[in-house]
């Protein structure tokens, strides 16, 4: 491993350590990570049980709604794991110290991805365990394809998180509410609970540009036809590569722009 790569790994590890300290130092934060996805599961679990007995569509595939809720939460947590954790640096007025150190902006992004994965595993993992315990729904029964669903949605969340972080770097903490709004804005066209064919044609075109739509389509195929649809998963992965590059590009550009305008020292509460 080259010295440059070793240095990068060391700096990313230091940032991951910083975010782990933050989690370890506050049990309410850990509880909060699991609280919302678990509450979603409680609500959708009862709805699912009711609909399975009153809907011929859902009777064919019990658990499809719970799987959709759990997977949607992966994307939501993945996005928050990047953007909200980045906000921590602004809340604590720490950006100046970070970027006066040898830390590169892309290394910070790498550390945010790692901590986002950890936070998502905690939050969604607890919700999945709850779904198994309370509704006897073992999402891991999907098998290896669950990893493909999970990673595609997580990476899409990262891309959105980088865009939100970039916008906050550009426009300040006044834009932080975008972190909560961004994912919900694309939820209706992601085909989480219904096929995108129900959307108006122009919205279907929008949906086809979103990796999430392919993942949820593949998930329904698995539940209703017991077939692993690899093609939509590959299409989602290809789109994710494009969006991750665009998200990272925007984040790095706004970082450069912040250096031009002196915002690295001034951004904060």
């Amino acid at each position: 491993m080259s010295a440059h790569l070793l240095g990068s790994v060391r700096r990313m590890s230091a940032m991951i350590e910083r975010y782990v300290y933050l989690l370890k130092g506050s049990w309410p934060r850990v509880v909060e990570l699991a609280y919302w996805p678990t509450m979603q599961i409680v609500l959708w679990g009862f709805l699912s049980e009711y609909l399975v007995h009153h809907s011929t569509y859902l009777a064919q595939a019990s658990g499809v709604l719970l799987a959709a809720v759990l997977l949607w939460d992966v994307m939501f947590r993945g996005q928050l794991g990047v953007s909200v954790v980045f906000f921590e640096e602004l809340y604590s007025r720490n950006l100046g110290h970070l970027f006066a150190s040898p830390l590169r902006a892309y290394e910070l992004a790498g550390a945010l991805f790692a901590i986002s994965l950890l936070r998502t595993l905690i939050g969604s993992g607890m919700a999945a365990l709850f779904a198994f315990w309370f509704y006897h729904f073992p999402i891991w029964r999907m098998g290896f394809v669950l990893v493909a669903f999970f990673m595609n949605l997580l990476v899409m969340g990262w891309s959105i998180g980088l865009v939100v972080a970039g916008l906050v770097l550009r426009y300040g903490l006044g834009a932080e509410n975008l972190a909560w709004a961004a994912v919900f804005a694309i939820a209706p066209v992601s085909g989480i609970y219904y096929p995108i064919s129900v959307l108006p044609h122009w919205l279907q075109v929008v949906a086809q540009a979103l990796p999430a739509a392919y993942v949820f389509s593949a998930m329904r195929t698995l539940f209703f036809h017991h077939v692993i649809a690899l093609r939509p998963l590959w299409e989602a992965a290809m789109l994710n590569v494009v969006y991750l590059i665009l998200g990272l590009g925007l984040f790095l550009w706004t970082f450069h722009n912040a250096r031009m305008h002196g915002r690295l020292l001034n951004l904060g509460e």
Partner: protein
């Protein structure tokens, strides 16, 4: 630009649209030298420091730090410099120890535990190491920030008002720590301060900034003698208020 200087700045200018923050600033800082940046609010001190760290990109001009062109090879330099400023905090929820560990990792410090213990002794932080930064008093935060600034034993230390909000006793001890570090390490130090006594005590040389331009430069004794004043503070007040100095 030459490797014999810790810093060599030529024609440094920073404009924000029509506003000129720093204009055509040229100066050098020798290795092992302590340079003071003096000037009123808005004179360009913090802007100059930010450009010396690469946190702010200049509109024009060149900056050489520790023999490297900062604008082209910033990351070759950053492991060897550090800074402290009251305008930038450390993460509030992390303890001093945790913060220093994280920054030790970012700067690639070996033997981080021993380095933290050493800094805690030097800066009287031993009893506070496991207290969250957000629960420290202003003076304790300043010392913790200075510990972070010294974590990588920097060859160039940039300090923005290092003793702001410290009581006179603590400020005096902290200046002693800085002086000891500078003498032991041979590091160059650039210090922006409003505390004239501090500048007189610590700095070999002083740059006086007014409205983003270099007004004068010399040792504190030289400037006091040149303008026929009793103290550096009198020289500063005359400059800041635009009074005739000669």
């Amino acid at each position: 630009m030459s490797g014999e200087w810790a810093i060599a700045v030529e024609g440094l200018t920073k404009r924000y649209g029509p506003v000129v923050a720093v204009e055509s600033l040229s100066f050098t800082v020798g290795c092992g030298q302590v340079l003071g940046l003096l000037g009123g609010n808005g004179a360009g001190k913090t802007t100059t420091l930010a450009m010396l760290m690469g946190l702010l990109l200049p509109s024009s001009g060149s900056i050489s730090v520790l023999g490297e062109d900062l604008l082209r090879h910033r990351y070759r330099v950053l492991e060897r410099i550090n800074f402290s400023s009251p305008y930038v905090d450390l993460p509030h929820r992390l303890t001093i120890y945790q913060n220093l560990r994280v920054y030790g990792g970012l700067y690639g410090v070996r033997g981080i535990k021993m380095r933290i213990q050493q800094l805690a002794r030097d800066l009287d932080l031993e009893g506070l190491l496991h207290r969250p930064y957000g629960r420290l008093s202003a003076g304790q935060r300043t010392r913790a920030s200075l510990a972070k600034a010294l974590i990588n034993s920097p060859q160039l230390l940039l300090l923005d008002e290092p003793t702001a909000s410290l009581d006179p006793d603590t400020a005096d001890r902290l200046r002693g720590t800085l002086r000891d570090y500078q003498k032991a390490s041979g590091a160059a130090v650039v210090l922006a301060s409003h505390n004239m006594l501090e500048v007189e005590r610590l700095c070999d040389d002083v740059i006086m900034l007014r409205q983003g331009t270099l007004f004068d430069r010399g040792s504190p004794a030289h400037l006091i003698a040149k303008y026929g004043r009793e103290t550096l503070e009198e020289v500063f007040l005359d400059m800041a208020r635009g009074r005739s100095l000669l």
